[in-house]
Amino acid sequence: MGEFKVHRVRFFDYMPTAIRAMAFNAHTERLALARMDGSVEIFNFTDHYFQEKVIPGKDSRSTESLCWVGGRLFSAGLNGEITEYDLENLRPKYSLEAYGGPIWTIISNTQGTQLAIGCEDGTVKLFEVLEEHIQFERNLDRQKGRIISLSWHPSGTHIAAGMMDMIRVFDVPTGHAVQRLLVDRGFGGSKSQETVVWSVAFLSDHTVVSGDSAGKVQVWDGHTGTLVKTHLVTKWDVLALSVSKDESSVVAGTSEGTVIQFQFIAPTLHQQQDKEWVRTRTFKNHTHDVRALAEIETAIVSGGMDTHLVVRPLLEKFDEKSHASGLRKIHFPHVSTEMAEITLVSNCLKKAGLLLFQFPGQLELWRLGDSDGHGKPGDRLPLKRKPEKLLLLKRKGEDHICCSALSSCGGWLAYSTVSCVRIYRLQTDNNNISITKVSKLPKALRSAHQLCFSSDSSKMFAASSQSSVLVIALTQSECKYVHTLKPKSGSRQPIHLMTTSVDGKWLAAANSDCEIRVYNLQKLKLHCIVPVYGSCPSAMGIHPTTNNMTVVHADQQLFEYSIVEKQYTDWSRKLQKQGLHNVWLDRDTPVTHVTFNPKNPNQVVLHDMHMFCIIDQSLPLPDQKTQFYNQMTLRSLSEQERPSHLHAFKICKTFQVSLLFLASLLDDQSLVVVERPLLAITSQLPAPVRQKKFAT
């Protein structure tokens, strides 16, 4: 098919932050995950663990704990505030000062009528959950020492609270502490240190399970306050506990990075009635502290200091090996524009690419390097010019950047936080770059989930609340509000993908309800809605010449939709009829970008975290018997034999495990690959707790 020049970019210092808390909503099967920087991510477990929403972080916000009440999400943190999130507009709905000092934990009762928080000042505060708000109700008996962890008995009558050196059981109606369970300290040197009860779990049969900083998982009888069993599982801390829905299993996360499972089973075959909590399995998928855990129906979900989210399926819950039974590690944002916007423009004068990197706190603008050599496949070309950082733009305010965009002429730069949008004018002459902030912005433009420019840089589009898109006209002198593209009906979920056609006629916007709307920009009207498919779109792109839109979904399905004819193309129908190859469907990271080869209209370029793929629509589709990864085979064949073995999916895995972004082609058959090796992320983590190795 041909040779490509690949710009391998490894200077993108993207660093995800540690996972702090997790809450799984069994009803909607959504996992909410809080990171150290205050951001909250929502994963849809019914749709291939797709990360469908990200609420950007804020400097002063520190989330310690998350809690679902029905479909509503609450968090509490060391800033002493309780926050409810607006999941449609991806921002905090309101924050409430609890007046108890830093808050360590937040929980709700099973009925969803009350919230309880554990505070530094030793109080457990109850809040009533109202329709649009929450209201302080009362305090339970104040204790000496901070309340680190809480667990509500399923009946709602009692609360267990983990503290320093002890666990308290409260009677909720009276507010009195009815039990005091003393937790032993560690041995040796740690004897003088207080034991922190990092996590408690209150089971229906009044069993209390606790995990503490002395490395113990303890089982207590909540009625009598007696210790039933102690499992010493680590020399370091047991940080998190999670109970399965049927209460037959408890998992504990430790500082060593292990997740240890305990099951309520009979220890011998002969006495099936006498069940006890027995330590059964140990999973080691983390290198650092496991701070957050959730045991769901078929898997254990864990996350912590080493920043990645692990979904470890419980294989006994699966009858056969399937897509769902494989281990998942989620390292990078699924929609890369959410946290690391990378835009490539070809600068007309210099024929050079510009890259925009988005970090939570700043934007970086880079110019790619250049070489004028030619080489054989496998060669590394000598650099004529090194890449250069042109600009570093720090954000104002406490809110983190949630999206950004660079116009294709390189003249406009924009970013948005949850509180404001900023647009800059860029001018480059020779090697000097000047930047001017556009001072007057239309009032309607307050915040955006997504930003993009039209290809001729005359308009900017901002995805706003309730799935609407603002159209802003840009001229040398001013920014003017033109129109709001607003759906009359349908979903109010936020837009997470947006793309325009090169001819400036079409704008497509996808939201997390899986709807893709196509607007006619000349008439400023809704043109059509792409038939809704059951899985969330993870990437899309409009072909520069045919205006066919390629959409890839979280379940790896691929469609091509003709915007002009308002129907799927013949190629797409053929692909659906034949079915995608199993190897393609079994991949475990979603496609995050779709782009096209300007030299060859038949070629669609897309990529996920492990590979990039060029789909040549002129070639036959692979059937299930075809070898899917066939590049090595093709290489070994002679030129005469090759054509009979070709198929449409050309996969390159040279840039492995780290591929974050692949930009569109420059005009001389070049690709830009931005890599962020996992090793580079791991090396920036603090050292794990010391693990003694034999003979060292």
């Binding site: 200077f11 496998g378 090194k386």
Partner: protein
């Protein structure tokens, strides 16, 4: 490996009139795994708490009445069931004080046994072979009971049991009729009865004991004959459908126990798991007759795994065929004046654990062609044959050979005869005859102190058909006579020398050979403790000497057969130090030796830490290799096809 732990007496036994009669009819479990329901041979049922050796309750029938079947526990209703005077079924609960006041029902035919097992309803087996579920029988006690076994043909039940599989319930019983033995398999729900004929043993003697167990959807029946043969027959749980009449029951020989002179009187074998069989009432292969032992044999390797002498006669009674019970890791053996409970443990056996560790690979290879397959040869012959034919096809050479010279002839004649025998016999026959011959010669030497035939014995050992468990006294005899040549031969060629004997050899001489004997660490250490300090020091000095010798010419060392490897030497040093460290620290003449060893250990630790560092560095190098292009930016050319 299997272990017999220290036992304890559950209760005393009343001596019955005839010494061979058992004072116990049966021992059954009830709902509590620590309980045992013991029925004596006359009138009493006693419930014991086993761990406390304490009776919890006792029930007796009136004088003049007789319990005719062991009491069982109905796991579904938590009641006990017993039969008195063949026809009266009594049912009571633990809290009932008097058996007379308990529920009773008289049935219309004589009952042989009531059987019960967890997960199934109790079943009643009548003397004439009919089977009823207890519940349905008690609902109409006087219902007519059919005859399965005909009275005229004098077919009588000898033994019975029941087995509850997941969904199926079986009653198994064996009968005797005119010297022939049959096995009946009665399946319940739906009821089918299958009759099998047991193959007749050459001696026409009846089997001494039966034991049945369920494994892998098959019923395994294990039975012991007075000549020491333990056979196994397998009956599928599913059973042949639509097969009428009597079928032959194929059998395979699992074990041939040494019975010494004559035949076994009362003995019993019970299967503990796939590989282990407990046998009571047979003489120990190396002890004099007249004493009864409880032994655990490994049937896969035909090795004696554990043994325990049982004081007093094992109580047995021909016809009852049951003198050992086995429940949940405990063996119940009535003997002498007591009922003993002996906990046991069987670990999964493998060839490695049966042979011990540290077989020198060189030796193993050189011998494997003979020694290792000899287990198989011993068991099944060289070719896989039909299991029933094994015994018949092997006519021992010994039956042909004149035994006379071996029993009375002078040493020289014995040697000649042995030579002749060995050169004549083919490999398969040798296995058996050599073993017997060796045992005979050893036994004769033990009796006649003047007689010792080193040449003949050495020749027998050299056939490589012998192993230690076949003739356990041989090596000890050689040691006694200070016949180091024979000892060395044995140490070289026997794969299964017990650790205690290895240590005994160590005490008398130190050789290359002892170090190479296979052993298991934790079994050897206690025996090593028997060595005294000077012996240990001498041994350590010797080990140090060969270690130094080796480390000097480690590069020139060629693999010589019969020289221990470095690892073997180090292992022995470690074991010795483990066993005797405190003694050695106190002994002044061990000081130099210990400090030498310490410096040697130091140097080893240093070496290993250096090696560890090198390994770390090498791993780093390995890691670095793929990331050769660690630069921040590059432009590369790739080609896609």
């Amino acid at each position: 490996m299997a272990t017999l732990f220290e036992g304890f007496t559950l209760c005393g036994l009343v001596q019955t009139q005839s010494a061979s009669d058992s004072a116990i009819q049966g021992i059954e479990l009830d709902g509590d795994s620590d309980h045992a329901v013991v029925t004596d041979s006359t009138r009493a049922v006693t419930l014991y708490k086993v761990s406390d050796q304490k009776p919890l309750g006792s029930w007796t029938v009136k004088q003049g009445q007789l319990l005719t079947c062991p009491a069982v526990f109905n796991f579904q209703t938590n009641e006990y069931v017993v039969v008195s005077d063949n026809k009266v079924i009594r049912v009571w609960k633990e809290e009932d004080l008097h058996l007379d006041k308990a529920f009773k029902a008289t049935v219309s035919a004589d009952v042989w046994r009531v059987h019960s097992a967890p997960g199934g309803e109790p079943v009643v087996l009548f003397q004439r072979g009919a089977v009823r579920l207890l519940d349905s029988l008690l609902s109409a006690p006087q219902q007519p009971i059919e005859d399965i076994l005909s009275e005229e043909e004098k077919e009588v039940i000898r033994w019975s049991t029941n087995i509850v599989a997941e969904k199926q319930h079986f009653v198994l019983f064996t009968t005797e009729q005119k010297g022939e033995h049959f096995l009946y398999v009665q399946r319940l729900n739906p009821n089918t009865l299958q009759k099998y004929r047991l193959e007749r043993e050459d001696s026409r003697a009846p089997p001494l004991s039966f034991s049945a167990s369920l494994r892998d959807k098959h019923i395994n029946l294990l039975y012991l004959y007075p000549n020491g043969c333990v056979y196994q027959s397998v009956v599928a749980v599913q059973g042949p459908v639509g097969l009428e009449g009597v079928q032959a029951l194929p059998r395979s020989l699992r074990l041939r126990l040494p019975v010494g002179e004559g035949e076994l009187g009362a003995a019993s074998a019970v299967a503990l798991d796939e590989a282990h069989v407990a046998v009571v009432g047979m003489p120990h292969p190396s002890a004099r007759t007249g004493k009864d032992f409880l032994c655990i044999w490994n049937t896969n390797f035909q090795t004696l795994q554990a043994d325990k002498e049982m004081v007093g006669r094992i109580c047995g009674q021909v016809g009852i065929l049951r003198i050992v019970w086995c429940y949940l890791g405990k063996l119940f053996v009535p003997h002498g004046k007591a009922l003993s409970v002996i906990p046991y443990e069987c670990q999964k056996s493998s060839l490695a654990s049966a042979l011990g560790k540290l077989r020198h690979p060189g030796i193993a290879v050189s011998k494997s062609s003979v020694a290792i397959p000899s287990w198989n040869t011993l068991l099944h012959g060289d070719q896989p044959q039909g299991p029933t034919k094994i015994v018949d096809s092997r006519k021992s050479v010994l039956t042909v050979v004149h035994l006379q010279p071996f029993q009375t002839g002078p040493v020289e004649e014995v040697r000649r005869e042995v030579e002749a025998l060995v050169s004549r016999g083919d490999a398969q026959d040798l296995q058996l005859s050599v073993g017997r011959l060796a045992c005979q010669l050893v036994a004769r030497s033990q009796v006649e102190t003047a007689f010792y035939a080193p040449g003949a014995l050495a020749r027998l050992v050299k056939t490589q058909c012998l192993c230690h468990s076949m003739c356990p006294d041989l090596l000890l005899l050689a040691l006694e006579h200070k016949d180091y040549f024979l000892c060395q031969l044995c140490l070289q060629l026997f794969p299964d020398i017990p650790e205690v004997v290895t240590c005994a050899c160590l005490k008398t001489f130190i050789g290359n050979e002892v170090l190479q004997t296979p052993y298991s660490d934790n079994l050897l250490v206690p025996h090593l403790k028997d060595l005294n300090a000077p012996q240990v020091i001498l041994f350590l000095q010797y080990l140090q000497f060969i270690y130094l010798k080796y480390s000097q010419d480690v590069y020139t060392q060629t693999p010589v057969l019969r020289s221990p490897t470095m690892t073997q030497i180090i292992d022995w040093v470690c074991l010795l130090l483990d066993a005797h460290f405190t003694v050695l620290v106190m002994a002044p003449d061990a000081k130099g030796l210990l400090s030498n060893l310490q410096s040697f250990v130091k140097s080893q630790v240093k070496l290993f830490s250096e090696l560890g560092k090198i390994e770390g560095s090498l791993q780093e190098l390995h890691k670095m290799k793929p990331s050769k292009d660690i630069s921040q930016y590059s432009i590369e050319v790739i080609e896609l096809f």
